[in-house]
Assembly symmetry: D2
Homo-oligomer: 508 residues x 4
Amino acid sequence: MLVTSDLREREETASARWSRFHPIVTGEDYLDSLRNRDIDLYLFGELVENPVDHPIIRPSMNALKATYDLATEDPELATAESPLIGRRVNRFLHLVESAQDIVMKNRMQRRLGQITGTCFQRCAGLDTISVLHSITYEIDQKHGTSYHDRYIEFMKLAQANNIIIGAGMTDPKGDRSKRPSEQDDPDLFMHVTRRTDTGLYVTGAKAHMTGGFNSHWICVMPTMNLSETDRDYAVVGLVPADAAGLTYIYGRQSCDMRAMESGDVDKGNAKFGGQEALVVFDNVFIPWEHVLMDGEYEFAQEMVARFTAYHRASYVCKTGLGDVLIGAAATVAEYNGVENASHIKDKLVEMTHLNETIYSSAIASSYEAKPLASGIYMNDAMLANVCKQNVTRFPYELSRLAQDIAGGLMVTLPSQQDFENEVTGPLLKKYLKGRSNVPVEHRARLLRLIENMTLGRNAVGYLTESMHGAGSPQAQRIHIHRIMNIEKKKGYAKGLAGVSAHASAEKK
Amino acid sequence: MLVTSDLREREETASARWSRFHPIVTGEDYLDSLRNRDIDLYLFGELVENPVDHPIIRPSMNALKATYDLATEDPELATAESPLIGRRVNRFLHLVESAQDIVMKNRMQRRLGQITGTCFQRCAGLDTISVLHSITYEIDQKHGTSYHDRYIEFMKLAQANNIIIGAGMTDPKGDRSKRPSEQDDPDLFMHVTRRTDTGLYVTGAKAHMTGGFNSHWICVMPTMNLSETDRDYAVVGLVPADAAGLTYIYGRQSCDMRAMESGDVDKGNAKFGGQEALVVFDNVFIPWEHVLMDGEYEFAQEMVARFTAYHRASYVCKTGLGDVLIGAAATVAEYNGVENASHIKDKLVEMTHLNETIYSSAIASSYEAKPLASGIYMNDAMLANVCKQNVTRFPYELSRLAQDIAGGLMVTLPSQQDFENEVTGPLLKKYLKGRSNVPVEHRARLLRLIENMTLGRNAVGYLTESMHGAGSPQAQRIHIHRIMNIEKKKGYAKGLAGVSAHASAEKK
Amino acid sequence: MLVTSDLREREETASARWSRFHPIVTGEDYLDSLRNRDIDLYLFGELVENPVDHPIIRPSMNALKATYDLATEDPELATAESPLIGRRVNRFLHLVESAQDIVMKNRMQRRLGQITGTCFQRCAGLDTISVLHSITYEIDQKHGTSYHDRYIEFMKLAQANNIIIGAGMTDPKGDRSKRPSEQDDPDLFMHVTRRTDTGLYVTGAKAHMTGGFNSHWICVMPTMNLSETDRDYAVVGLVPADAAGLTYIYGRQSCDMRAMESGDVDKGNAKFGGQEALVVFDNVFIPWEHVLMDGEYEFAQEMVARFTAYHRASYVCKTGLGDVLIGAAATVAEYNGVENASHIKDKLVEMTHLNETIYSSAIASSYEAKPLASGIYMNDAMLANVCKQNVTRFPYELSRLAQDIAGGLMVTLPSQQDFENEVTGPLLKKYLKGRSNVPVEHRARLLRLIENMTLGRNAVGYLTESMHGAGSPQAQRIHIHRIMNIEKKKGYAKGLAGVSAHASAEKK
Amino acid sequence: MLVTSDLREREETASARWSRFHPIVTGEDYLDSLRNRDIDLYLFGELVENPVDHPIIRPSMNALKATYDLATEDPELATAESPLIGRRVNRFLHLVESAQDIVMKNRMQRRLGQITGTCFQRCAGLDTISVLHSITYEIDQKHGTSYHDRYIEFMKLAQANNIIIGAGMTDPKGDRSKRPSEQDDPDLFMHVTRRTDTGLYVTGAKAHMTGGFNSHWICVMPTMNLSETDRDYAVVGLVPADAAGLTYIYGRQSCDMRAMESGDVDKGNAKFGGQEALVVFDNVFIPWEHVLMDGEYEFAQEMVARFTAYHRASYVCKTGLGDVLIGAAATVAEYNGVENASHIKDKLVEMTHLNETIYSSAIASSYEAKPLASGIYMNDAMLANVCKQNVTRFPYELSRLAQDIAGGLMVTLPSQQDFENEVTGPLLKKYLKGRSNVPVEHRARLLRLIENMTLGRNAVGYLTESMHGAGSPQAQRIHIHRIMNIEKKKGYAKGLAGVSAHASAEKK
């Protein structure tokens, strides 16, 4: 049980917190920045000593590393000129100033999907800083607070240090029929437990946190609309990932144990993976400089609505994964010697059609972006929801088609060790031979990649997370229902049918 | 049989042809422009005396008239500043100079779909003039011809006179396994039959011509790629709708005879309809000033490809019809008293989701437009094909859902005359009563509108034409296959799977 | 306004009613039986003098006539040995005594769909007499009534006279949020208005009555579950189609006016069509011998449930229509010269796959039939609902694919009169030529048949009626939900997951 | 390299082979029968010492064990009276003598799917013995051979000993564009390498062999149609699983390594799993008594066609898995407290609808079974193919819907060890609490079961194997195309359209 004096020790200043950071330039810098942090991370019931070199965790870091590497390799795509600090910054930290900026974000997201074949975990943070720009501004306008200035100061340092910000949004929610303040256990939604001169303390947990441990800072924020009685739940704050009181519990994934095996074939995608963690906050301190909402509950709903508008279009990244999966299916078809069969070609076309349909929903939403009062741009909410709704369907169909093209060997292929064994190796090379000029190992590698994306580790990101990330399908449907402007559509129909308000009155 | 002297009489000059036109400003002007033309139009085996006032034909003219009316009512949307003649022109005659111009076109198309609930027949002409800008330019670049200047001169007069241009593209094609020059009957593809000092003559037919008779000018052009032996088939030319040698045969539509009935209820959409005609060309003369291709067969394929890129995104108009149908379904649900049933709301959301998915494919394609050599912009071909492919599916599902919501009465409702009969009228008003404050007639009108759009006259445009217009589904799939860049996608997959070119060599 | 003495005149005896019938043997007998009846039938606001020879009505009679003709041509399929009268009877009047009997019914239904390409209107009556066997028996068991004997007597005469029984089930329902007895207008559900020594009177209307006018007798029955306050609505009775107080109002259909045209091409299916009518009952008398329920409201729900179990599997008839549509699409593909294109073959396979999926749901339901207490068999309710749910989806997809294969000409083809006109006829024959050995007229005829089934008159039966007949889609979903036995399924899952009731108690 | 003398040692007699078997009665007997066999089985590059107790392999044996246990627990369902040996035998060894027998097979298959939640691996063997009954009979009829008697003798012993027969059908196939005898490596299809007085030798491999190692005998047979040049490939024979020259290589599955972990929660379905193996045959001897085809290549195609007719309907087992998945989704919905949300109920209905649609295709096929010349029954091929085609689609959609209902926690849930750790355990129990009366562990167990079936070990059987087992989707489409009787369907269409053969002749 924590006593007050324990908590006092946690009252670290904002500048003390920033002092632990150094500007990150390269991907290697990023990996280094994750070493030697004083953080409790649990995996398989044990504290992880050296997460950066842990075979299960490292691929998820590699995926984030790719966001740094791309900035170096293709700065046009992955960086942008920031007026805040007067130089180019990683696009994941850039405040979007135009529709074109959001479109460029989408292109970068697709590209990183192509590069990593997995979730690269940095979008939720970007979408969080985007929404905070306008929300802090609007709270200040109404309440005379100074959240927006604090936000701008934070963002300058964030850009200068080129950090990763994790989005701590999803509360565990407990009994879904009850509001936050009505739960038996108040901690099932994150809330303020005390306030002092220098800051406030929060307790609770954030679930499914994408790239949880791989972040440098976590932004906690409400997960749903709040009412007056939920005032202590209306808190937004920025916390360094190594703040006292934080515990990370790693979520396990399909086929995660393959990462512990020697050999890279059976992993499918040996280099890249995703990460989701449960992050528990036990009286974690946040200095006032890093508090961006405290009690202004009436902004929670709009904050969530804007966040989802940004984030539901960010699922455009899955088209990059789709490109990989289409390519993998096409390659296996070639290795199997059936690439000219008309039904194979037709399935590849269908996969492409569905993938590009997702892409078009996303960029259409972005191109239709409009500025908010604070000057930042927000993409079109209807089309963002449409994009996400398609993402809850089409990757599943792409997976099904990829498995169709791949053939059953995808799930009956023996292990890499069997390929290397002196008895079974030659037998496998003899009997699993497809087209004569293709090494059996290549065929195995491509099949394992498809397994990885449709059943294995990266299926988590490509399928299930496509379903539930940024809100489950029903959440999009509710949103679409809310903004579909049905009265206007009824008016079109009545007009053409010859039913007018005037006519109605007359004819009754 | 025509003799040479007959043909000579047809050698009308370009200026003589233009002299029959007066600038059209209002929708009424447009209707007037269609009166008293010397044109043979056949319908139900008879020459139509006065097409403008024919009950079956007029609704199709009303739909085109709406394109003039909208220009007056909402000039921002339906007109654009034309550099060619230095003033605002109807957007259907505007040469697109930016991605934004194409997006504005899409918005206007959706709006006209909402206004008319049918095909307003003016898009194919617009997409034709768009493609001719770049193609004439590129032919001139290669061959030193002067097609582009001719084109520009024509467009100036077209804009000044605010005319309708019909797209004469689809040849009857005969035996689909044979090329144009191989057909038993050479006329199954339009071709040049003679050339004189003043111009050339063409013979053939253009099928499914949208708004055929309602146009002022027809642009004839090749329907597919051509080879050297098809040189006489490589002809593009502009012909006034009343040129000698033209015969129009009206295509009949589902429920067309309802237009001949008294009363407006059973028509569903009494005011607006579409039109497709077979237009036969028997040695029709085109003066050189109006010839924009003559023999440059190698440009036919690219011309078709660009036309379809423009035109497949133009099917965004169906989202306007979708808005009407969603509105009609929602209104009937309300009239039936079931608007709060969760499955009804869910079906309306699904309809909206599908409709907006189409919309996003279209505008995404447009926003991604790039300039061609001639300076005109062309939207993205992949996304345009994706848009059209979705249009071959989603309107059918929207129709199915609308019929689901409407209920069976949609197809068992007695006629308007039964509602007016003194015996049956009171019985129908008594027994077909739904919600108490809704007149039975209103319920009938909305049901008839849904019938009109899903089975009746405008189902032709909303469904079947959505399937086949701008190319049947397989045409889009072939196009997607051609441009899907599968090698690049294979590269992504191989990279992630650990199969490199280098590795391949080593391990074989 | 009817006075009591008027009503008294209506108190016709059961035997007087039967005296107007003569045994029907041939299809021609059937047509004759419909002549010279004293019935008020309204169509387009007028009383129809001679319905049998009315061009719009006759095709619907032809479809029913086919049920008689088939009994002659294929007695094995379309008749069955009846123990009631000791000889073979038309299978549409046979009481099903085994699962095999119901399967044979399904085969006959598919066959008649193939023969007519439309709704042959006799299934609802068959399913009605099937359900009455067990329900009358069970009411008698509980209440000591003698409905079942009355029913058996009626059936003997029905079989001997080989009559058509129409099912009068669907009440207009008015405000769907209110029960029958709560409606503003009590007549919105059929109910008993008076009872005398000799019988009772009913008032109300039956909507969407399939083959309404073409029946000899109508069986009225409740449309939904009833409660004690709805006692007067709990009435089942048999009424001759020409009983005093009946008024028939014909429902109009898509393209119905084509039946009034000369020529048979544009009709698509010139010979056969469906019919749905609104039948109004104004104090119609039913002698006690023909009353099969009067006040036993608690049986209404089960009666409807059993009726829908029978009737939802009867939608197997649509697979016969599907066979026609598949055949039509395949023929047009051949006429167009594209029958070997792989995508065409694949679409025909898909159509077949969907069609046979419907077929399998229907016959599986029938094969799983079990006897009820009265000795009659009833098919499996779950699979019947599954069958019908598939019927609300797959015919729409079959239609879409048929339109895809048919090509756009299906909706732009000029009229038969244009084919016959001396100017346009030769032009059409020249320009609409497909494969050289196929007459253009044949191509036109097949296209018109597809139009007929997907947009025109028989689309009503193939599509919309597939959606709503025997209950709209949501009705099946509610039924499936009720009988899906979810607790048993939860048990399987908990068992495999290692969660047992015992474990639950321990671990809480 | 094997020399002749080595091979001679392999010439074991049929009776010597049978002498190693003892009648199996209980499930435990079955497990015992797998112990101490002299078989080389490789897994992860190593010879497995004690397969029966290997944590990865045992669950697959448990699934087969369930087929014995069910025979004890529900003999009506899982045994049948065998005329061959005059007593009840396990239904998996019963020769089907009626349609009802095949329906009973389907019911048993669904039940075992419910019990195991996985592939219980015994169907392919059953379907093999079914097809051999008629094929051996027909070969004998034509060639005067005595295969059928040999078959009957084998079956008597098989029934008496209650053994498992594995189906060795799928050859590796190598270059799919070449016939067996054209392959570079002749072994890519199994073939006879030598014949002696006592028997013959085969070399090759059988891939994806379901329950490979868990069988007692393997029946090898051709995988496709053969021509005269493939005569040595036309071989059917029965081989004990421990015959000299056999090598088994275990196929790895998604999440297979979880079976090696302590704790049963994360396994999802700790008890049951599937198994597929590659079985290599290096000069394996078969005595003549066990040879059932040798060179009669012309029967290969029909043998495969009949096998697939039987086996494609056997995929009805997946409806048992579907029941488990529906139950799991419903349970999780309840644990999450959202079971009354209308969209949840609707999704469960949809899952049930799809699952029952599969069921109906299977049993419809079985009910329509007809006897073959040998007296055995075969189910309807069209509906069997339709069943399997649905199985390549609907389980994927069921999985998608189950993941939708389950929520994202399914893929972010920490490991069982984290639940047991003293620091993280209490945190997880606190924060992952759903409905208050449900232990967190129960929620975890159900989520893990859904993961198991949609991404994990049993997803292999439920999804990918549903896709490719008994032939990939395209194989069914080809089969449907072959037997869809399109000419008959064209005839229906032409008849209704008024196009007759006679008319065609006249009008040309």
